[in-house]
């Protein structure tokens, strides 16, 4: 409902109003546009150029994209990275969200003892830098130190141990699980807040209706929390593109072993900056960034369309 403009504001001379708006909105809009929006557009623009060793730029249209997606020198690592990104995302959805939901459900049980303690402790890893987390787990899982091996041996699962981070087949999933370990706090908090939002009387009514705790969770709490789970999913989706930090700190820019842990973020970094195997290529880097942008755009649009429409259903 639009509020009528106050008389004071409406009677302000136009010049003054513009000056006022410039003062209030100027700084934010300028910084945001300059360093957030403009670089994005410039990058997309740059992706339509190519450059050579002399530093001159030549307009080539969509050639870079064609190369990226089809030329095997580029497309193989690109699709590899894209596929890995998908696996990374799936591991998060399959592991992080159910754990987050379950923990949120447990933490929101009425009369739970030590609730504040658990909440603080379980959210702790999310506060840490990814570098720390990556390295700490690298050490723990390292066969040299033997802590993980020892812990598994203690529960009789010693035979399970392998240098997971070093094997091409398991490196990516291991890294994904480390990321889940760190970031489960976010879906946990968001879903927890959502659960708290459910009026107590609703739960009481369900108890009077004859539902036990588990059924209440399944039939009442979960459906009402679904919009938040949708939000968590899209945040995970977008956030996974930033997983560069973790992979880089554990595996370096080459995302080994043998590019098994390469995701689009590391691929972008390598393409743009180069490394010991290749020279930096800003235009191809820009192309990779543009592709990533469109992937994210599609994901966000899907979210806004599907989830946001359903969200209107559950007003209290």
């Amino acid at each position: 409902m639009a509020e009528p403009m106050s008389q004071v504001v409406a009677s302000m001379p136009r010049g003054r109003f513009v000056a006022l708006m410039t003062l209030f909105l100027g700084p934010a809009v300028v910084v945001y546009t300059l360093f957030s929006i403009w670089p994005l557009i410039a990058t997309m623009g740059l992706s339509t150029y190519t450059t050579d060793s002399s530093g001159a730029y030549r307009f080539v249209g969509l050639v870079n994209f064609v190369t990226l997606l089809t030329d095997s020198v580029w497309s193989k690592p690109f699709w590899n990275a894209a596929w890995n990104n998908l696996i990374f995302f799936c591991v998060h959805m399959l592991v992080q969200n159910p754990i987050g939901i379950a923990l949120a459900g447990l933490l929101s049980l009425p009369g739970l003892k030590l609730r504040a303690f658990y909440r603080t402790v379980i959210f702790l890893p999310t506060m840490l830098s990814v570098v720390i987390v990556g390295f700490a787990w690298n050490l723990i899982l390292s066969p040299l130190w033997g802590v993980a091996e020892g812990a598994l041996k203690a529960v009789g699962l010693g035979s399970w141990f392998a240098p997971w981070l070093g094997l091409p087949s398991t490196a990516l999933v291991t890294l994904a699980l480390i990321s889940v370990w760190q970031f489960v706090g976010i879906p946990l908090m968001l879903i927890y807040a959502s659960l708290l939002n459910i009026p107590d009387e609703l739960i009481d009514a369900a108890r009077v209706d004859g539902l036990g705790h588990f059924r209440i969770f399944l039939h009442i709490k979960l459906p009402l929390v679904l919009p938040t789970i949708g939000l968590v999913s899209i945040l995970t989706f977008v956030g996974n593109f930033n997983a560069f930090d973790l992979i880089y700190s554990v595996k370096g820019a080459l995302a080994g072993p043998n590019f098994a842990s390469d995701i689009l973020g590391t691929f972008f970094y390598r393409t743009f900056f180069g490394n010991q195997l290749q020279l930096g290529n800003p235009t191809m880097g820009a192309a990779v960034a543009t592709v990533m942008f469109f992937i994210i755009l599609v994901g966000v649009c899907l979210y806004l369309f599907i989830v946001q429409r359903r969200m209107r259903r559950y007003a209290f």
Partner: protein
């Protein structure tokens, strides 16, 4: 009744187990950073005793790296960015909520695009811009980028808080003839203090822990932030377990300390923001 007790016990067991999983690795790292090398490998799971206690790793870190500089850099960048995000964001949130003009909705939408789209994708152009402006390898470059990154979310959160402020206060000030700018700075802004916790959670942590932009925008050792500094130190001294563990612990402990002290406000801020 018995079923109740068993259920409660089961719940507590699960939560304790997960808490151990969450905190265990951190405790392990910190504990072992205070031990001599032989004890780290010999008995990794036991805390340092009088025999095994050693600060050799920490001394190495202080000598071989500019860890204090890194810390100071991170502090400057984070605090200045936070301050600017709050100031610019509050002004923008106020203007967009209070003064509806043609295009204000479009502007609000424009500003909220940044919530979903990672700013990193524009890094190619950002680096070019910084180089052209002579800001390459400065803390200023980081601050500008982080402010741009933090504005959309904070404007979103602050708008919600601004809407909660009773309109009567603004009307009373207007009746008294107070100019609009003063209304914002002296009436509205102080009332946004509760919002600081929420904005802080969403802004400070990503900035402090960020690896990407320091990596791309800073090249010399003296401009590194603590995240980048520690990462490079780790890469360099990877076989020196004492130093590595000490560096990790030094990066962990300040964050944990602040977190434990402010955990209630932090979590309240996060849940308040989430509810919106």
């Amino acid at each position: 009744m018995f079923k109740q007790r068993a259920q409660t016990a089961g719940v507590q067991l699960i939560l304790i187990a997960y808490s151990l999983l969450a905190v265990g690795p951190i405790l392990l790292v910190v504990m072992n950073s205070f031990k001599a090398r032989s004890a780290i490998f010999g008995s990794p799971l036991s805390p340092p005793t009088a025999d095994t206690f050693s600060l050799i790793g920490y001394m190495k870190v202080f000598h071989a790296s500019l860890i204090v500089t890194y810390f100071a850099n991170s502090l400057i960048v984070t605090l200045v960015s936070m301050g600017l995000v709050l100031l610019f964001g509050a002004m923008a949130a106020w203007a967009l909520t209070e003064y509806k003009f043609r295009g204000s909705t479009a502007l609000a939408l424009f500003l909220s695009i940044g919530i979903m789209v990672p700013i990193r994708l524009g890094s190619v152009a950002i680096l070019k811009m910084m180089k052209a402006a002579g800001l390459n390898d400065t803390l200023t470059a980081l601050i500008l980028v982080y402010v741009a990154q933090g504005l959309p979310m904070s404007i979103f959160i602050l708008s919600e808080f601004v809407q909660q402020i009773p309109k009567d206060l603004r009307d009373a000030a207007r009746c008294d003839g107070v100019p609009e700018t003063r209304i914002f700075f002296e009436v509205i802004a102080p009332l946004l203090r509760p919002a600081i916790a929420t904005v802080a959670v969403f802004t400070i942590v990503p900035i402090w822990n960020d690896l990407w932009f320091p990596l791309i925008l800073t090249s010399s050792d003296t401009t590194h932030t603590i995240t980048l500094g520690v990462q490079q130190f780790l890469g360099q001294y990877i076989t020196d377990w004492n130093s590595v563990l000490a560096a990790l612990s030094m990066a962990i402990l300040p964050v944990v300390a602040i977190y434990v002290v402010f955990s209630r406000q932090l979590i309240a801020g996060l849940t308040a923001g989430a509810v919106k």
